[in-house]
Assembly symmetry: C2
Homo-oligomer: 346 residues x 2
Amino acid sequence: MSSVRTIAKNIGVSVATVSRALNGKPNVNETTRQAVLAEAERVGYTLRRNDSQSRVLALAYTWEPGRVDYGGFDAALMRGILQGINEHRFDVNILNIFRDKSPDESYTSFFRRKGVSGAILRTSSDTREVCHDIAAEGFPSIVIADRFDEPEVNFIGSESRVESRKAVEHLIHLGHRRIGIGVHQVRDTDHEDRRAGYIDAIKAAGMELDPALIADIVADMDGGANAVTYFLSLPDPPTAFYFTDPLATLGALHRCRALGLQLPRDLSLVGFDDSDVRQHAFPPFTAVCQDAVQLGFESARWLTRLLSGQTSGSLRRLVPTRFEINQTTAAPPNKAPSLDDSRNRG
Amino acid sequence: MSSVRTIAKNIGVSVATVSRALNGKPNVNETTRQAVLAEAERVGYTLRRNDSQSRVLALAYTWEPGRVDYGGFDAALMRGILQGINEHRFDVNILNIFRDKSPDESYTSFFRRKGVSGAILRTSSDTREVCHDIAAEGFPSIVIADRFDEPEVNFIGSESRVESRKAVEHLIHLGHRRIGIGVHQVRDTDHEDRRAGYIDAIKAAGMELDPALIADIVADMDGGANAVTYFLSLPDPPTAFYFTDPLATLGALHRCRALGLQLPRDLSLVGFDDSDVRQHAFPPFTAVCQDAVQLGFESARWLTRLLSGQTSGSLRRLVPTRFEINQTTAAPPNKAPSLDDSRNRG
DNA sequence: TACTCTTGGTGTAACTGTTTCGGTAGCGGT
DNA sequence: ACCGCTACCGAAACAGTTACACCAAGAGTA
């Protein structure tokens, strides 16, 4: 019931001015523009066009473009999305809410303006509120790799706490007593899960929880590499590590090799994997594995089915991860490795 | 000058009927629909809406969705695209021409209907004609990883023939005389380049070009692994390989390890890399490297600048690849490896 | 046979938002 | 006082879609 014409009538301007104001065109007085935007917000204006039939999904990033690195997780996610959209022949549009949503407009209006009818949301620890607001507006959406208490927020993610605990318990079972963890310094839900799983295992085994063995790292190869050096420089260094990120795991592997350490003879290493990276590395590393392709596929399929009227209700799902033992875990050596040892050896 | 109203007038129906016919809505006689579509094609009808201002790029696949695997190359490409679109705040939409373009409509009409104003085209050996047709229509587009003689087709790709020759000459210089190549069985331009570079090097060195040493493989890990087994089962097996695909290289590495062969002591291996896979493997493999991120970035930046009026003309560019020596190439062993040797050793 | 009732197909008109064109008001220069 | 430029805005025409009425033809029924 609210069109550009009602807005125009309400504040006493022409539809042309309203249209120009809403689209950021030049030649409109700033005062007038603000009045139009305010009135549009008041009456809950949304662009009404043929987009009721638009069959486009958004993969929407909630943080600034400079921080969107589109790494292995996003790539695997997209791979799944591209499979999931085919059942109902949707397209997928990559959007950036942070970059493009104007503060005045609602999320629904934003997505309508972009011509998408549903959104797969990528969130981070500091943008969870955005996801909640989108769901509260009733816009069809699903959050990837996070979870929410509010029942109106749909999400699909991985449950990695239990398998992380299993991974650390595997190390304990092998005989390790000093186990370091390198976890992403940005405290999102996934990495907090893995940290919690680590703590669960340590406490359940009655072992001491040493804060020095918990390293907040940057989740890339350098971060993993530096963590290895840090751990080995401790007075009482760990004999095993758990890294909660694929790239960090690779970096740790490389640093170990550079230090002349042989896995799993001198050190044990459990990593994390989104896709097939563990199989590309050498040795193929023992890892907690989540299937990002599956997350993309299921989210896209559910959303397209929802928008096609084939289903209703919510999707709030945690897919279990899988702990996979490969070739980087074994019993600890008689003497714990240290930086000095490795230097002498190399 | 051609709108739904002119079409309606030309064939004597109402605009409503034309609109319904063009959008595949029900309640329109099949004969009438065909007449509308024919007339629309005749007058070159394209949807005229706000799309003059649409700031959306397509990443368009020209082949069927089932064959779109969205592997490492596509992921790196998208990574670059997402950087390249930010300068002019474009969005990117992933389309599938094969799936969605109706036979009656022009490519321009298709892209307009999808709401994109420019297209980055992914092609394969059997869809080059599509790219040419799109360029011939004058629609702003650029083809990734291929090249064309027709001056109206824009493209950006990698030149891998010269560096492939360099790679094989590197092996020859190390003393190898029997060198196998595993090349993608689908004969697209890129892989044909690498095949040609291999032949260049062999011929320039005055060596025999043995067809048995050229293996047409599937470009995945199994393909690479099987090629190793095939090569080593030859009566006079090669002492070095060149694989023209990252996954095939990884598969070859794994198979070598599984056979108990140590690189580069027992065998030399040159691979190909799109991104950072060579650094993830062990040993980090010597490789011809192309920067897929750069291809995505430059194509997106050029296209967005073109559409923003900041530039005109064409982009027809071949980016040189780079031959990078890592740890999988050395002088050949005294005795060529064979399957029997490896089995005994293992 | 005559009378509903349904349904596929169509046109009119009203709806959506955008854009062109022209006009007004204000300001500065001569 | 006059001219010219520019920012701003409205009327009207443009684009395509859709709700609604209508009509013809067929099916069913008294």
